[in-house]
């Protein structure tokens, strides 16, 4: 709302003055958060709610909140309390924005972006309401200046109304200000003989036969002239259609002035008096609506409210040791039919809401870091000075494939699996869990010094996802855009079906680091039943062996291009391969079998189970199952239910009906990118189609019903642990927004797990999927390494270790097998190999060339050896939690388990001496409760 009109400048100037005065006032009081008693630091706040752990304080003037942690006495502010002095970088409106609790991003009907801040566009105008609710408070914001300042000041007001509305509700001292600023005027009809009232530039005929008096006072000639001049000026000012005194005609003279005297605002009053009066009137609760009648009576333009306002409410409640902040989706409204230029009307879609951007924000001199859940987790040190790098922002659960893909992607990025973030600030910290609306959230973080002086991390919730459609055929002369297609923006047609809710939990002392955050989050998940501790009696470390069945190869048959199924590991070879590993002493194998279904790795639509004929008969498959059963190997055939690799006829899948759609109604795909150009690949084999979540229950039904007939207790799912994609098909009722999609995926995982009683092995798992996962492979190993992020931490592993067995990427196809193996030891993961029974040259020249090192004979010995080593180190701590992880020195990391076992891993090329103990280069040392145990 940054179109500043001329009359707004006064407001801005005064506001700045007021701000600076306030700043001076604040400067004189101790305001450093670490000094002074709680009462001093919370001056201006009042206690809104308290429980055994926390106190919630509220500032009724600024809608700021603060939370006092009773245990540590530390106070967390929603906005930095010392920003008036601390903020050195942001100026003006940007500086004031640090006082906001929410920021809105919306678009005009012409797709210009608008940013609104709860302070600048709501609190400053007093457009908010505080109400007490169960367990806390609720703040209702009306964002966007509803009435401009001058709307509050009547220009001409009848005597009665003046007394009733104004003088009646202001106190004595203010009353004189008003009386001095207004003239009481009455119009009197006189005969011809009376001297004509003459006003410079006004056509004399307009005023012929009229004169003006001021009832109750005798005016000098000069005062009378001033009064009339003033009246004429106010008439001109108050009407859009009059541009100057000369425009005034006889019928413009308000005859209503004849019946009763009225007060007319003096034109020459000083601007501070004017602002003073406006402030007083605002405080009395006067609504400009009440002035409408009078303005109409005197022919003046009626004050009209700005139609472009947004409504959002924020609820703060205390729940145990957490502060829960909620934005109810019902409270959100945006203008759907507001005027804009050219007399047209249109919607102002609300794209996103930043929530509590400055909660706990740390100033430029503070020590600590921000934790973001990028991949396995990343740490951003406060004030790291990396302003050359873009700020951190990433969508929770990765990109929604149904939103328009970026045109190019050269650099790979990790996704967010866990909707949490945190901050360590000195000896205190918080972890924030996004509890509702998380599929629509992005996590953003930035360091001090770029836009403002604060290190901050916060969620941004998408309200209406935005998509674009290119009008390709529009000639340049029509679109008016040179070079490039004209784009039209499309928004989701309704608000999402979920509130937005986050939970801040506070940490102090030794807990205030990422290990503490992981522990706290782990407790939260355990409490909710998402994580259940592993049974300590189970056997040792699992060994995940993925075997590749068939791959589809395009080959000409008699010159006709056909897809031929090339068997890599047949059903019987799979059995032999597993036996070869068993013979090498690898026990506890979990066999994942990909490409076992008809169509190979990129299998046909899984309407039911159809075995791949090139891999063997059904008899062979059953024999494999029995063999695995006898040898105690768990069997997890892999299937992709959400991603569809083919759109052929009569296979039960209709792309038009069942494929998820983007906002521009094209079908969405799980996009993969060309490795050279980074451009999206649009063929289904490279970028599978997304099955609409609304069809998932039916597909699960038909596939799993068929699958259970084979009597295999396990199943491995490809995309279901990680992918959450909307379906923007049609209008409101058909549309599946991202929150609904997540709910459907979760409910289907529940059905497969509980109703059908299958053990699930997931390829990657978001927080909600962990509940149903017995095993997770392809768990995130590191972070994206964004330049703004200082280092990666194994937060994900610290949360799930001891609850779910997991593995990272296949060791043989990782970036460097040796480093990956060390990483496995460091993060307590299980070994995982992706292999096949054929020579790897078989995949040369095929679309599966990324299986470039899959010959099991190459890896058999070293995999077995590594498993033996890993099991020795990690086998006995498999069911224990990781209590601490830290970097001891560059490239040397320590992982400490619940009962004291500690493993130090050295990634450096030279041996490292740590307090008298050597850790070999590219090796690790184990300490059992403080004593050195073994070195490798």
């Amino acid at each position: 709302m940054r179109t500043i009109e001329r009359s707004d400048w006064n407001t801005v100037v005064v506001a700045l003055l007021v701000m600076s005065v306030l700043g001076l006032l604040q400067g004189s009081t101790p305001c450093d958060a670490s000094l002074g008693s709680a009462d001093e630091r919370l001056s201006g706040y009042e206690l809104a709610e308290e429980n055994d752990y926390l106190e919630l304080w509220l500032n009724r003037d600024s809608a700021e909140v603060a939370v006092l942690d009773r245990k540590s006495g530390y106070i967390w502010f929603s906005n930095p309390p010392a920003r008036a002095q601390e903020e050195r970088i942001a100026k003006g409106a940007l500086k004031e924005a640090t006082g906001s609790q929410i920021s809105l991003t919306c678009y005009t009907p012409r797709d210009q972006r608008l940013s609104l801040e709860s302070y600048n566009d709501s609190v400053r105008y007093g457009q908010f309401e505080i109400t007490a609710i169960e367990g806390g408070v609720r703040v209702d914001y009306t964002v966007g200046q509803e009435w401009s300042d001058q709307d509050f000041l009547p220009i001409i007001i009848s005597q009665d109304e003046f007394h009733r509305l104004i003088l009646g509700s202001v106190d004595e001292s203010e009353r004189s200000l008003f009386l001095n600023s207004y003239d009481l005027v009455q119009l009197v009809e006189v005969d011809e003989s009376h001297p004509q009232v003459e006003v410079y530039q006004v056509n004399p005929s307009a005023l012929r036969g009229y004169t003006f008096v001021s009832p109750g006072s005798e005016l000098t000639q000069r005062a009378h002239k001033t009064m009339v001049d003033n009246l004429v000026d106010q008439l001109v000012n108050g009407r859009e259609d009059l541009s100057g005194r000369s425009d005034i005609k006889r019928e413009d003279i308000p005859l209503a002035l004849m019946d009763f005297p009225a007060y007319v605002l003096k034109a020459g009053i000083r601007s501070w008096d004017r602002t003073g009066m406006i402030d007083i009137l605002r405080k009395t609760g006067l609504s400009p609506l009440e002035l409408r009648g009078d303005h109409e009576k005197y022919g003046l333009d009626r004050p009209t409210p700005n139609p472009i306002v947004f409504h959002v409410a924020v609820e703060y409640t205390l729940e145990g040791d957490s502060l829960v902040v909620r934005v109810p989706i019902d409270s959100i409204s945006y203008p759907t039919n507001a005027p804009y230029t050219g007399g047209k009307r249109g919607a102002y879609p609300l794209a996103s809401i930043d929530l509590l951007k400055y909660f706990g924000a740390a100033g430029p001199s503070e020590q600590g870091y921000i934790f973001v859940p990028d991949g396995s987790g990343g740490i951003i040190d406060f004030n790291n000075g990396r302003h050359f790098a873009p700020a951190y922002q990433s969508p929770v659960y990765g990109r929604d494939n149904s939103l328009d893909e970026s045109s190019e992607l050269l650099a790979q990025v990790e996704r967010i699996y866990l909707p949490v973030f945190g901050m360590k600030r000195g000896d205190n910290g918080f972890i924030c869990i996004i509890e509702e609306g998380q599929p629509l959230a992005r996590i953003r973080a930035d360091v001090a010094g770029r836009v403002d002086s604060y290190n901050k991390v916060y969620p941004a919730f998408t309200v209406l996802p935005q998509g674009t459609s290119a009008l390709k055929g529009v000639p340049q002369w029509r679109s008016g855009v040179t070079g490039g297609d004209q784009q039209i923006s499309i928004y989701q047609s309704r608000k999402p079906d979920s509130d937005f809710q986050v939970r801040y939990t506070f940490l102090s002392g030794d807990d205030a680091d990422y290990s503490g955050m992981a522990r706290r989050y782990q407790q939260y998940l355990e409490h909710r039943g998402v994580l259940r501790p592993l049974n300590p009696d189970d056997d040792g470390l699992p060994f995940f062996l993925e075997l590749v069945g068939a791959v589809g190869v395009k080959k000409p048959v008699l010159g006709i291009p056909r897809e031929i199924m090339e068997p890599i590991t047949t059903y019987s070879q799979a059995g032999h391969t597993v036996e070869a590993f068993l013979d090498q002493g690898v026990s506890n194998i979990k066999l994942v079998y990909t490409g076992w279904m008809s169509g190979g790795i990129k299998h046909r639509f899984p309407k039911g189970v159809s075995l791949e004929a090139n891999l063997g008969s059904e008899q062979d498959f059953r024999r494999l199952r029995d063999l695995l059963d006898n040898r105690g190997v768990e069997f997890y055939p892999m299937v992709s239910l959400l991603g569809v690799y083919r759109d052929t006829w009569f296979d039960g899948f209709s792309l038009m009906a069942m494929g998820a759609r983007r906002l521009n109604r094209s079908t969405s795909q799980i996009v993969n990118y060309d490795r050279v150009t980074g451009r999206p690949l649009d063929d289904a084999a490279s970028s599978p189609y997304v099955l609409s979540a609304s069809w998932l229950p039916r597909v699960v039904d038909s596939f799993v019903r068929d699958y259970v007939k084979y009597g295999i207790p396990g199943l491995s799912l490809k995309f279901m642990g990680t992918h959450v994609d909307s379906d923007f098909r049609g209008r409101d009722d058909q549309l599946v927004d991202r929150c609904q999609a997540m709910a459907i995926v979760e409910s289907q995982l529940l059905r497969i797990d509980e109703d059908f009683g299958l053990d699930l092995l997931l390829s990657g798992a978001n927080d909600y999927a962990l509940r149903y996962a017995r095993y997770v492979i392809n768990a995130p190993e590191g972070s994206s390494g964004h330049n703004i992020v200082n280092r990666a931490v194994p937060f994900y592993q610290m949360v799930v270790h001891g609850y779910v067995d997991y593995a990272g990427l296949p060791l043989n196809h990782s970036e460097s097998p040796r480093v990956s193996m060390l990483k496995t030891i460091e993060t307590g993961a299980s070994p995982y190999f992706q292999l096949g029974a054929s020579s790897a040259s078989k995949i040369k020249d095929t679309a599966f060339a990324d299986l470039f090192s899959m010959d099991y004979r190459v890896w058999l010995q070293s995999a077995a050896k590594f498993y033996e080593a890993a099991d020795e180190v990690l086998g006995d701590v498999r069911t224990q939690r990781i209590v601490r992880h830290r970097e001891l020195s560059e490239g040397v990391f320590e992982t400490v388990y619940e009962y004291g076992k500690s493993i130090v891993v050295n990634y450096r090329a030279e041996d490292v001496e740590l307090s008298g103990i050597r850790v070999p280069a590219f090796g690790y040392t184990v300490f059992q409760g403080g004593t050195q145990d073994e070195t490798n």
């Binding site: 249109g346 879609p349 991949g375 000075g385 790098a389 050269l410 650099a411 790979q412 990025v413 990790e414 459609s469 009008l471 039209i488 923006s489 499309i490 928004y491 395009k554 080959k555 000409p556 008699l558 006709i560 291009p561 109604r665 490795r675 050279v676 150009t677 190993e781 590191g782 994206s784 390494g785 964004h786 330049n787 990666a792 196809h813 970036e815 460097s816 040796r818 480093v819 990956s820 990483k823 020579s839 790897a840 995949i843 040369k844 060339a849 990324d850 470039f852 090192s853 010959d855 190459v858 070293s862 590594f866 490239g891 990634y907 450096r908 090329a909 030279e910 590219f922 690790y924 490798n936």
Partner: protein, 720 residues
């Protein structure tokens, strides 16, 4: 550049994979997640995935070194373990040792008693004796300092004793320098198209050297004649290209990169011999262009020569480092543009330090240190062993590479080479085939063929002799005549039977007989064109079904040639073979020829109907049909050098076809020679026009469809 001798043998490296995985001390990579993907170009020019060759080990910025942030980190140079970082906007040279501790910062020097500073320098070079040369671009000079940073001399703008060698408008803005073993100085100057400047050891300007010549293609010349001046300028044709960075290898040859102009797309990297000639070898599957056939093309900002003839070039378009061996084979690719660990925002310079590669970034002002993985170490070892003539050792290393990456063509060739050297030709051929090395395959095959021939010559000859004797005996005893007679009677008998049954059977029989007769006559026509075509028309001895048969067989012949021609002569991607495309590549021109020719000749008093024309034309295809199978068989016995013979035979087939077409038209339309020539020419023109109209219609329909789509989108999606 310190030359590291064969550090460990490849056998040790192999233990990386096959032995204990956790007990090796070679590299020091720590970072795990890398933002870039690794790939290599295969024979077909496709990028196929590969394991990571290099991983980022760390990034180093000015703050990490404790000398304050760099501003515009322009160049870096490694000399005997010391790294010279050129911090351009701060006008200083930061020298660090191999542990990244700062040795010295040179930000000013004493110039004849007056303190002097650099102004936006862009290049640095250090000689073996420790002399530091800085291209002080902003000051338009080259500054030479000694080891401790004292000024030795300043080399200013060149002056020439001969007028006209240096233009009056010449501006001396040095951006990159090298000094060769005999202290000659080579300077790349910004905005200079005449080449690089060579200065003698005493600082005198000698000559312009190695001007990047541009040879315009014929199309370029034609176009420049037709285009307006503005168009020419926009196209950038004939804009002489300029070099932008220089490096020197162990042999004293200069490596140069070109970033602007036409040469940037065709020869972005050059290696100049002392005589100024480009001697870079370009023998790889693709030329050293970075990413070939991709828009926008790679833009090399810097190149570094490494040991064993390897060189790595830095592409600023996508932030990638491409490493080639001395023959121009791409070895591996890593890096990307981005704001992540391991990526670079705007890469500016590359240097190496043993196998470690350093890349400087102008935006993040950091140096990223990349260390080789096991995979890259194996490749290096294989090449080093090969350079030293140890083919078996190299093969061992290549086997290690293959264990990690089955897509690596070079490794197959390397193993093949070791088999070849030890005389295992079959195995060698198999590996050369997997490695798509046709030249080596051909060499191995030549020996193999010779072996086979000497081994089996007697046997083959005796078989042939036997066959000849048998045939002669049969002919003598009239076995063939009897056989033909029997066949004829049999046919007649079947014919009579069909005649008796009458109806459909009789019609089919007749049709079969005429078609086969027509086919037989077509063969006769191909051999006796003049009388044949005359009879063909006069006696109506051709038939449409027979023509269709010929067409189908020709298409089949085409497919056979494509799919089954021997490996040496068949550089086509068999997996991409598509019979529909092959068929249309014959049917469309054939159909167009017939129709257009008929249209034309009816206007020009031609006597042939459309049927006549198509029958005659189909006879014209017979030589191609006849040659296809024998040629394909023959190709399996040929080596690369005999390819010309193969192509000669093919040319004979095509020429024969052309003659048949010509004679066919002449006889069918009863034209004289000249008329036939110009109807032929006009038919070709007409075909071109028809194709053009077809394409035009296609575009039109496409646009209408797009327009309809837009209207739909606006109606459905517009939310106003």
């Amino acid at each position: 550049m310190p030359v590291r001798r064969l550090n460990r043998s490849a056998v040790i490296l192999l233990t990386v994979i096959l032995g204990s995985l956790l007990a090796l001390t070679c590299t020091s990579e720590v970072g795990l997640a890398v933002p870039y993907t690794s790939y290599i170009y295969d024979f077909w020019g496709r990028a196929v995935p590969a394991p990571q060759a290099y991983l980022p080990a760390r990034t180093v910025g000015g703050d990490d070194l404790g000398v304050g942030s760099f501003r515009d980190l322009r160049d870096l140079f490694d000399k005997s373990g010391d790294i010279y970082l050129l911090d351009s906007k701060n006008g200083r040279l930061v020298i660090v040792d191999s542990n990244w501790t700062v040795r010295r910062v040179i930000d000013q020097f004493d110039n004849g008693g007056v303190p002097d500073r650099f102004n936006a320098p862009e290049g640095v070079f250090v000689t073996d004796s420790g002399r530091i040369y800085v291209a002080d671009t902003g000051n338009g000079r080259v500054v030479e300092l000694d080891r401790s940073g004292h000024l030795v001399r300043v080399i200013g703008a060149p002056r020439s004793s001969v007028s006209g060698v240096i233009r009056d408008t010449f501006k001396f803005l040095p951006i990159s320098i090298v000094v060769d073993g005999s202290s000659r100085l080579y300077v790349v100057v910004k905005g200079e198209a005449e080449g690089i400047l060579e200065f003698s050891p005493d600082g005198e300007f000698r000559q312009f050297f190695g001007a990047p010549r541009v040879t315009p293609s014929l199309a370029d010349v034609l176009w420049s004649r037709l285009a307006t001046r503005q168009q020419r300028e926009r196209l950038g044709l004939f804009i002489p290209t300029e070099y932008n960075s220089i490096n020197i290898d162990e042999q004293g040859f200069l490596f140069l990169t070109i970033i602007e102009g036409v040469a940037a797309k065709t020869e972005p990297i050059r290696r100049l011999s002392p005589s100024g000639r480009d001697v870079l070898r370009r023998n790889g599957f693709t030329d050293p262009l970075g990413d070939p056939l991709v828009e926008p093309p790679s833009r090399f900002v810097d190149v570094v020569a490494r040991q064993n003839g390897l060189y790595s070039a830095l592409d600023m378009q996508r932030g990638r480092v491409f490493t080639y061996d001395r023959n121009g084979h791409l070895l591996y690719v890593f890096g990307c543009v981005g704001q992540q660990y391991g990526a670079t925002a705007t890469p500016a310079a590359i240097d190496c330090w043993g196998d470690t590669i350093l890349v400087a970034d102008r935006i993040t002002n950091q140096v990223t240190v990349y260390e080789p993985t096991e995979y890259a170490q194996l490749i290096h070892a294989a090449i080093e062993l090969y350079e030293h003539g140890d083919y078996n050792g190299a093969a061992q290393a290549w086997k290690g590479v293959l264990a990690l990456n089955a897509n690596y063509d070079r490794a197959y060739t390397g193993i093949g080479l070791s088999h070849f050297m030890s005389g295992e030709l079959v195995a060698a051929m198999e590996y050369f085939k997997l490695g798509n090395d046709r030249a080596m395959y051909s060499k191995a095959f030549r020996l193999y063929r010779k072996d086979m021939a000497t081994k089996h010559l007697g046997l083959v000859l005796s078989w042939i002799l036997l066959l000849v004797i048998v045939i002669a005996a049969c002919a003598k005893m009239k076995v063939f005549a009897a056989l033909m007679e029997w066949l004829r009677t049999a046919v007649r008998r079947v014919g009579n039977g069909a005649a008796r049954r009458g109806g459909v059977t009789w019609t089919v029989w007749q049709w079969l007989v005429t078609t086969i007769a027509a086919l037989g006559f077509s063969l006769h026509v191909a051999i006796h064109p003049f009388s044949g075509f005359h009879e063909l028309k006069r006696d109506r001895r051709g038939s449409v079904p027979a023509s269709v048969c010929i067409l189908v067989l020709t298409i089949a012949g085409f497919v056979i040639i494509r799919q089954h021609t021997g490996f040496v002569l068949n550089a086509r991607d068999l997996k991409a073979l598509n019979i529909y495309r092959e068929a249309s590549s014959i049917l469309v021109p054939f159909g167009l020829w017939c129709v257009i020719n008929w249209c034309l000749t009816t206007l020009m008093e031609g006597k042939g109907s459309l049927r006549d024309i198509s029958i005659a034309s189909s006879c014209g295809l017979i030589p191609i049909m006849l040659f296809s199978v024998p040629l394909t068989v023959l190709s399996h016995f040929m080596v690369a050098e005999e390819g010309s013979f193969y192509y000669l035979l093919m040319a004979i087939a095509v020429g024969w076809s052309a003659v048949l077409f010509f004679v066919g038209m002449m006889e069918t339309h009863e034209y004289d020679f000249a008329t036939t020539v110009y109807t032929g020419v006009f038919t070709c023109v007409g075909m071109a026009i028809a194709l053009f109209v077809g394409a035009f219609l296609y575009v039109l329909v496409d646009q209408v469809a797009a327009f309809a789509g837009d209207i739909y989108r606006e109606l459905v999606l517009r939310r106003l």
